[in-house]
């Protein structure tokens, strides 16, 4: 069986492994396996930061070795992302976890925060590895294989990063007004789709967090509820056993609730969050495409007004037209791929949520049924002893 590179942690159940069947336009046979683990704290005079171990196993010829182990920090991931965006402006680059978590009670370097980030980084690299184009990107290869000093020196080369600091491309040039007029229907549809999708996925993200919170509050109350029955049993004789039985049932249901919560936070919440980020990325990609088209359009308009230098212009326009066509095609292909992945992700994640809930209810059911049996058995025992002379 293949190791599924998409599960950042060990799969919980065999069923989730079976569900990892994927269909996509990527490499037919996976030949690149990446894991992100082992967060370590580094303290220097200037700063404290975390590095993660990135292990790569590959059979590809382009790689000198079949196994690599490097350490990377969050900054390095940011760098990689911006290089990919630069090289492929109309491809959908997977999201990175945010720099900070604004809301929520997670502190910057708490264990929970680090673990959440680690999983997201693992996801990020694997999504790139599975992308038909991005997987062969040179900067990607360097990221996976170069030693720390090699990476540093490589980073300093090449064109500056311009204003591409920050993990998501928010600052996009606004010269897209014109492009909207000439925008092919397909991309207008994409835009409309993304607007609604973005709205809905954000809502789902909020709902999922609300559910998590409600379940946690319920768990806390249940923790107090059970022991009261035990306390009561101390002043009773006849019904002490029944009371203790109830207390133990409630305790077991409490543990089942904890598992249910864990399931949410391990699977549903990260996926929804990832797609919230994806929706922002996609809006950005669409804008960039518009921008590229805008360049073409403005040149075409300029040509219409010029009488001389037509030849020069047509050559330029030819190049721009090519650029636009390449951009459109790249985006279209990547869009289709993204949609398929999204569908698969949503299906598997929500199915997992349902399974989680089923496990919870089945466990609670078994608990209460066994209590009920014990109570009716007692009754029959009493009956029998009464009938004896």
């Amino acid at each position: 069986t293949e190791v599924n590179s998409f599960s950042p942690s060990v799969p919980i159940s065999p069923s989730s492994m079976i569900n990892q069947y994927k269909f996509e336009d990527g490499p037919e046979i996976r030949d690149l396996f990446i894991t992100v683990d082992d967060p370590e704290s580094h303290i220097t005079a200037i700063e404290t930061f975390i590095t993660y171990r990135v292990v790569t196993k590959t059979t590809r010829g382009e790689f000198d070795s079949s196994e690599y182990e490097v350490r990377r920090r969050y900054q390095d991931f940011l760098w990689l992302k911006s290089k990919l965006e630069e090289a492929h402006p109309t491809l959908i680059i997977p999201p990175l976890p945010e720099k900070f978590i604004m809301k929520g009670m997670v502190e910057r370097f708490s264990d929970e925060f680090i673990e959440t980030r680690r999983k997201a980084l693992h996801k990020f690299l694997n999504r790139i590895a599975d992308h038909p184009t991005l997987t062969f990107n040179e900067d990607f290869k360097i990221f996976l294989t170069a030693q720390a000093w090699e990476l540093s020196s490589h980073k300093k080369q090449g064109p500056g990063l311009l204003s591409r600091m920050g993990q998501t491309v928010r600052a996009v040039a606004s010269s897209v007004r014109g492009a909207v007029k000439n925008r092919p229907e397909m991309f207008t549809e994409m835009n409309n789709y993304m607007e609604t999708f973005s709205q809905k996925i954000n809502l789902l993200d909020k709902i999922a967090h609300r559910i998590y919170k409600e379940e946690r509050d319920y768990f806390n109350e249940m923790k107090e509820y059970g022991p009261i029955h035990t306390l009561w049993s101390a002043s009773e004789e006849d019904i002490a056993d029944s009371l203790k039985g109830i207390a133990s049932c409630i305790e077991r249901c409490c543990r089942a609730t904890e598992k249910r919560m864990a399931g949410l936070s391990e699977h549903l919440l990260p996926i929804l969050h990832e797609y919230v980020l994806y929706s922002e990325i996609l809006m950005g990609v669409l804008k960039r495409r518009d921008q590229i088209q805008g360049e073409l359009d403005s040149k075409v308009d300029a040509l219409a007004n010029k009488k001389t230098e037509k030849d020069l212009f047509s050559e330029e326009i030819g190049k721009l037209e090519d650029k636009v066509e390449r951009a459109n095609n790249a985006l279209k292909a990547d869009w289709d791929r993204w949609k398929q992945n999204m569908q698969w992700d949503m299906r598997s994640t929500f199915t997992n949520v349902a399974e989680n809930n089923l496990r919870y209810y089945e466990e609670c059911l078994a608990t209460w049924e066994s209590f009920l049996t014990s109570q009716t058995v007692d009754l029959h025992v009493d009956e029998d002893s009464e009938d004896r002379p």
Partner: protein, 446 residues
């Protein structure tokens, strides 16, 4: 005050109509005692278990009227229906008789019973105001759900009284069920109010009893513990209910968003839409679940209030015992006084003694008169002490008998309540499994 302690059952020939046992115990009868506690209780029950009358509180109605101070008020009236139960073979159906009563009349009845039968653990009324509510429940007395639960509680109260071997024979109780007009006057004519006031004072007074019956002391501790633990349980249960409500209802939001999302999806649309529907079903299911749980809470509440009744009996014993001890003490001191006067020795300090020393001795005649008075008082006192002793012992005997009856009832009822709680949880789990199985199927088709 005439003695209102009822004699052992069977000695009131005019009380032909014994009220019916509670339904559950009726079933137990048919079951040939399968769920019954030891035979002793069964024997005691059979005497009033004549199945002569069905009692229900079948309706509740909002009324407006003027109260004692001529101020307009809104209140709820409850319809009490009774029907004599003929034996099945006759195939006749007796007519239903009915009358309306409001909560305050139930209160009056219960006060009368508590005062008149202080050795009985008198069944409690359902709560006057909604307590231990969680946020969705209204604390408003006019709220239809509250009224409905109160209706059930009042019916339960009547059935409890009707199945009590002693209480069911009370004339005032019978009149409460059958006689609409003039009932209040009838109750007041018994003069129980006077006893009620002094009883209230006694229940609240603090005093030290030197030799209480240990069993009653223990029982009082038990009733305090029971009250405390059930309150705590009910309070936390209400919070648990609140939280559970929250979990279920938030899932309802999935329904709405899935539906809106499905509009922009082609392949995923159907799966999303139908999954959303199941989320709505899930969210809606909590309402019935929690409503059922309220009945469980009401069962516990009854025993919370029963703890009060239990404590009242203990206090009555303490009061009688204290009274007895005071009377004994008084008698002893009078005897001593008498002796001192007779022998001329002053052993105990008394103000009279001092003043007579200061203002001159008494004459022999005066002393004789005093001794005579004291001797009379001592005689009276000894008779009173004798009867108080007897009363006290009778009280302890009959109270303890009722307490034993109560204990068995309590153990039986609470065990059943706990079992019914488990049954409710099972039902909730099964519903959950069904909904999420359906949802899972929809998701897997996305």
């Amino acid at each position: 005050m005439e003695s209102t302690e009822p004699e052992p059952s069977g000695s009131r020939p005019e009380e032909e109509e014994d009220e019916e046992e509670e339904e559950e115990e009726e079933e137990e009868e048919e079951d040939d005692g399968a769920l019954l506690p030891p035979k002793q209780r069964l024997a005691a029950m059979e005497d009033c278990l004549a199945k002569k009358m069905e009692i229900t509180v079948s309706e509740a109605e909002k009324r407006t009227g003027r109260n004692a101070m001529n101020i307009q008020e809104t209140y709820t009236a409850y319809l009490i229906e009774t029907r004599a139960v003929e034996s099945q073979s006759e195939g006749q159906c007796a007519p239903v008789e009915s009358l309306w009563r409001r909560y305050s009349e139930f209160e009056l009845l219960r006060n009368y019973l508590s005062v008149t039968y202080p050795h009985i653990v008198v069944p409690p009324l359902p709560e006057k105001r909604a307590d231990f509510v969680w946020h969705k429940l209204s604390a408003d007395n006019m709220d239809p759900d509250f009224v409905e639960r109160r209706r059930i509680g009042l019916e339960n109260f009547l059935l409890r009284v009707a199945s009590h071997p002693v209480l069911c024979q009370d004339k005032i109780f019978y009149a409460f069920l059958m006689q609409e007009g003039g009932w209040k006057e009838m109750v007041n004519e018994t003069g129980f109010q006077l006893k009620a006031d002094s009883r209230l004072k006694a229940l609240n007074a603090t005093f030290r009893v030197k030799n209480p019956d240990k069993r009653f002391t223990e029982l009082k501790h038990y009733s305090d513990e029971l009250q405390s633990v059930i309150s705590h349980l009910l309070r936390v249960r209400a919070r648990v209910a609140d939280r559970l409500y929250g979990v279920y209802k938030v899932h309802g939001n999935y329904g709405r968003v899935f539906s809106e999302w499905s509009a922009i999806e082609k392949e995923m649309g159907d799966g999303l839409q139908s999954a959303g529907h199941h989320m709505d079903v899930y969210a809606a299911s909590i309402d019935d679940i929690l409503e059922e749980e309220e009945h469980y809470a009401d069962q516990l509440k009854e025993y919370l209030f029963y703890a009060e009744a239990l404590r009242a009996v203990c206090r009555k014993h303490e009061l009688m015992q204290y009274d007895l001890e005071m009377a004994a003490q008084d008698l002893t001191s009078k005897k001593q006084q008498c002796e001192e006067l007779a022998t001329g020795t002053v052993r105990t300090f008394s103000l009279k003694g001092m003043t007579s020393k200061l203002f001159g001795q008494e004459t022999p005649e005066q002393r004789e008169a005093k001794i005579k008075v004291l001797e009379e008082q001592i005689q009276e006192g000894e008779e009173q002490l004798k009867s108080k002793n007897l009363e006290g012992r009778d009280f302890v005997k009959s109270a303890w008998a009722d307490i034993e009856r109560f204990k068995e009832q309590k153990n039986h009822d609470l065990k059943e309540a706990l079992i019914s709680y488990a049954v409710m949880q099972i039902s909730m789990c099964k519903k959950g499994i069904q909904v999420w199985t359906n949802a899972k199927e929809c998701f897997s088709k996305m």
